[in-house]
Subunit: 281 residues, 2 copies
DNA sequence: GGTAAGGGCTCCAGCAACTGGAGGGTCAAG
DNA sequence: CTTGACCCTCCAGTTGCTGGAGCCCTTACC
């Protein structure tokens, strides 16, 4: 009984696998045509090959590698451990899914921040305002030295507080006047709950009446905005309290340093209650 | 003001990228060392390179391709369309997640069936039993011809009924005696609800008292089991009804043909109610 | 002066699973 | 005899590296 043989082209149409792929599978010993003409090298396939091809297609569809498929096909007679293969594959896929899901989550965060910043950008003006600040729970690391160091410190804070962080990064500035090299400052992160971390000072900073403005531009020009706040205070006979606060509404992002001309920083300085009991305007 | 330069080894330790990778990135114009010695080819990196490397690392961590990273880095000054990149990437990742989730689901199904069959295998005997069958909603395609055709028919049924399928494949056999070539049979699938599909006959098949046994082995040997049922019926003076039913407990799987010696097929034949009103034993 | 260690360099190969193309042989019909 | 449809092999390219061979250079040590 002679069975019908099919050329690689016919077999390709029957199996749904491209000719190139069939040749490749032959090369890899995965799907060996039942007969190869010696002189021309022409491949000929039969129906058993068709069955094999369908198995291979199915397993490829389940994302098995060719190597694995080979092993599965070899160990087929005993048939017992196919379940292991399936379970292993499932686990592998699930861990890949998880990895990607994590990335998507991270992306979501970044996207949220970015479009947030975009919106801020549109609606910001640089007028001085007076407003009430609520008390705020923060964790901070006070430091004396150059402002250059704050990147490291924010890094440390971020790692220490992680998922407890509940707002934009900020800084408390304890200096009376601006110092470049020997400044006294405290990078802070708002947090939701009290957490104990080594090196991190966690406590509530007070609320109250403050004067504030949103500074636009690189940090080097912050002193101009401080100047404006000072003269405003003098003009309105307000007594200011240290430390002043800088809220980094938009600064260097998690990925890009961004354009410093577009950085937004809110400066807040608490106003001392008037000793006469007159409420601050 | 001369800035410090770092050799590729030092820079590798600072950036956390392997030396090989740094050379590769240089080759790809992704991270170009600020200075390359002309005669030795030695690469030298500066702190700006370090920043770039961190951006690249971050983007790689978000699964961006090098090509994309290049484009992002190039279009950085305007800075506007970064959000598009992020959204695109997120969408891409999500579709990958979905694909894998689909595969996992399919794997689950296969695993369930397989371990199901495994369990059946252990606990099966081939004794004849009498039992009550509930009525069952099925969709079937009646056919006259060779049993060879049933693979195609089951395929058609599967595609037509898809997710409505609610149990093992089965077949109704209308022939009085076994025929090889001109058989009259109907591949069926149990379903949950009435659905209308062209070419598929959907209806409820009756329940009632039946005799049944589980046949183990290839379909070619089914007639032996039919024989046993017949002589049992004669012995117990039971009148049998057509069509008989074959339930394919374990047959060729979705991927593998499996070992026919291990196929399990339950044969059920309804028993006509005794005309005397005596309940069947 | 030899040599070993520790950097650096280039170029080549390989992973996975194909895909595309060049260049050439085979077969049947018109 | 040509045309067109097939078929073949071999090579290159995809992505993001990784490993190795083979070579150069400097420094330290014996």
């Amino acid at each position: 009984m002679s069975e019908t043989l099919y050329s690689i082209g016919e077999f390709s149409r029957m199996s749904g696998l491209p000719v190139k792929t069939l040749r490749f599978y032959h090369d890899k010993q995965l799907l060996i045509p039942c007969y190869v003409e010696f002189d021309t090298g022409y491949r000929h396939y039969n129906l058993r090959n068709l069955e094999q091809s369908q198995v291979i297609k199915a397993l490829r569809g389940l994302d098995f590698g060719l190597e694995q498929i080979s092993r599965i096909l070899e160990g087929q007679p005993d048939d017992g451990d196919i379940l292991d293969f399936l379970e292993t594959q499932k686990a592998a896929l699930q861990s890949e899914i998880e990895r990607r899901a994590d990335i998507v989550q991270a992306l979501d965060l970044i996207i949220a921040r970015e479009s947030d910043a975009r919106k801020l950008m549109q609606t910001n003006d640089d007028r001085i305002v007076q407003k009430q600040l609520p008390p705020q729970l923060v964790g901070g690391i006070r430091h004396r030295g150059s402002y250059q160091d704050c990147a490291t410190l924010f890094g440390k804070l971020g790692r220490a507080l992680g998922r407890h962080i509940a707002g934009k990064a900020m800084m408390l500035c304890y200096d009376e006047e601006f110092r470049e090299d020997d400044a006294d400052f405290e990078p802070c992160m708002p947090i939701k709950r009290v957490v104990k971390k080594p090196q991190v000072h966690v406590r509530e900073i007070p609320g109250g009446s403050c004067i504030a403005l949103v500074h636009r531009g690189p940090y080097e020009t912050l002193s101009r905005s401080y100047g404006r706040l000072m003269s405003y205070a003098k003009e309105h006979e307000l007594v200011l309290q240290r430390p002043s606060r800088e809220i980094y509404l938009k600064g260097p992002g998690m990925i890009f340093r961004g354009n410093p001309e577009k950085y937004l920083t809110e400066i807040q300085i608490l106003v001392a209650e008037d000793p006469n009991g007159r409420p601050p305007i």
